[in-house]
């Protein structure tokens, strides 16, 4: 539609209030707006500037979201730390036996790290299943907005599951490795002599 025809239709000839520019790359809006302002001396506003409050809200939401997720991961890591730490304490005799057999300190640490990783893997599997169910429930909810039935936009891509698994494995490895180092400090002599 020509500009002139649009003005006639709106009953506002010779008046232009706003020109919208659609870009292939929406994230180039700020740069393009700057160029338009420089070239035509009209005020040009990118969508990011117009939606600054909303974007700030999204950033705040993400900060809260990641803080909560990190806190949950930290608690889970403490769980793994405690389990492996108790396991090292309970298995002091077995550690001494394995040392006498010729297992190296690295072998022993590996055994306990594997225990922690096994716990992390179980946690990942359960977390994936629970996450999938929760997303299904959340995705099925209808929110009546402006007469339409809107649904919560959810990113259910495998990438999200991958990120969750990688973060859990990393946290699990560190949480298991810290107490596993204690296994190397067990002195087999006292235990094998029955003194401990």
């Amino acid at each position: 539609m020509l500009l002139r025809e649009a003005q006639s239709l709106l009953g506002r000839p010779f008046i232009i209030n706003r020109i919208g520019v659609k870009l292939d790359d929406p994230y180039a809006a700020q740069e393009v707006a700057k160029r338009i302002e420089g070239r035509y001396a009209y005020k040009a506003e990118s969508w990011q500037e117009r939606s600054q409050d909303f974007l700030a809200l999204l950033i705040t939401r993400n900060v809260i979201l990641y803080s909560v997720v990190s806190a949950i991961l930290l608690v889970a890591s403490f769980g793994i730390y405690t389990v492996v730490s108790n396991s090292v304490a309970d298995k002091r005799r077995d550690i001494a036996i394995l040392r006498s057999m010729g297992f190296s300190l690295r072998d022993l640490q590996l055994i306990f790290v594997m225990e922690g990783l096994a716990l992390a893997l179980i946690g990942i599997a359960v977390g994936w299943a629970l996450g999938w169910v929760l997303m299904e429930i959340l995705g099925s909810l209808n929110f009546p907005l402006g007469g339409d039935n809107a649904r919560v936009p959810l990113d259910r891509s495998p990438r999200q599951y991958g990120i969750a698994a990688a973060a859990s494995l990393l946290a699990g490895s560190v949480a298991a490795w810290l107490p596993a180092r204690k296994a190397a400090k067990v002195d087999p002599v006292d235990i094998l002599r029955g003194a401990v």
């Binding site: 005799r93 036996i97 006498s100 057999m101 010729g102 190296s104 300190l105 072998d107 002599v189 094998l192």
Partner: protein, 227 residues
């Protein structure tokens, strides 16, 4: 016959105020094919000497030659590798892994060493259990075995990687006389028929009497050697 172990001026002193001397200026040789016992009163340093010879503990002085190699300066992992390949231990308390069956306990050092794998390792495990008369108990866990049976499984495990030296810390200490005689006979056979060196710490006069070499200790020192 060349010595398997030659220890010279061996000492182990625990730091403290005052320091505690466990082993003082000990020299001895261990030869293959001999059943050697170390005897002496409690606290005389027998077990401490055994753990030094078994490369589990480190001497604070002196040297240990194992098969001609000075093992004193080896680090923890090098000692562990040597124990895995060349040494086997039998303790007073059987020290089997309680969650594992007899078969799994015996095959464990083989799996770690990795020389024998799969069916070969399994066949050797069954053969070792057969040697100590416990093939039928291969799938039994230690808590379902008698003390003597557990100790025989421990001997089978000590033999897993075909060691040249078997060390026993009171291996009959928790056994009745019948089981004790069986264990001693097994150890003697390992020394005499398979040319392994067997060194055992013991309080038991019947075990000491069965030995080819008897080393007497007092206050961390060797005070007598009988052959």
């Amino acid at each position: 016959m060349s010595a398997l172990i030659e220890a010279a001026h061996l000492s182990r002193i625990l730091p403290g105020d005052p320091p505690v001397t466990l082993v003082a200026d000990v020299g001895l040789t261990v030869e293959p094919g001999a059943f050697t016992t170390i005897v002496g009163p409690s606290g005389c340093g027998k077990s401490s000497l055994l753990y030094l010879l078994g490369l589990i503990d480190r001497p604070t002085g002196g040297t240990i030659l194992f098969e001609g190699q000075d093992v004193t300066p080896l680090d923890g992992d090098e000692r562990a590798a040597l124990r895995l390949r060349r040494l086997g231990f039998v303790f007073q308390f059987h020290f089997l892994l309680p969650e594992f069956t007899a078969f799994e306990n015996v095959i464990l050092p083989m799996r770690r060493l990795g020389v024998l794998k799969g069916a070969d390792a399994e066949a050797r495990t069954l053969q070792l259990l057969d040697t100590v008369g416990l093939k039928a108990k291969a799938d039994t866990t230690p808590d379902h075995m008698s003390g003597g049976e557990r100790q025989r499984v421990a001997i089978a495990r000590a033999l897993a990687n075909d060691p040249v030296l078997i060390l026993g810390d009171e291996p009959t200490g928790n056994l009745d006389s019948g089981n004790s005689a069986t264990v001693v006979e097994t150890l003697r056979t390992l020394a005499h028929e398979q040319q392994r060196a067997v060194v055992c710490v013991t309080h038991d006069p019947s075990v000491a009497a069965a030995a080819d070499v008897r080393i007497s200790m007092l206050d961390g020192r060797i005070v007598g050697v009988e052959r």
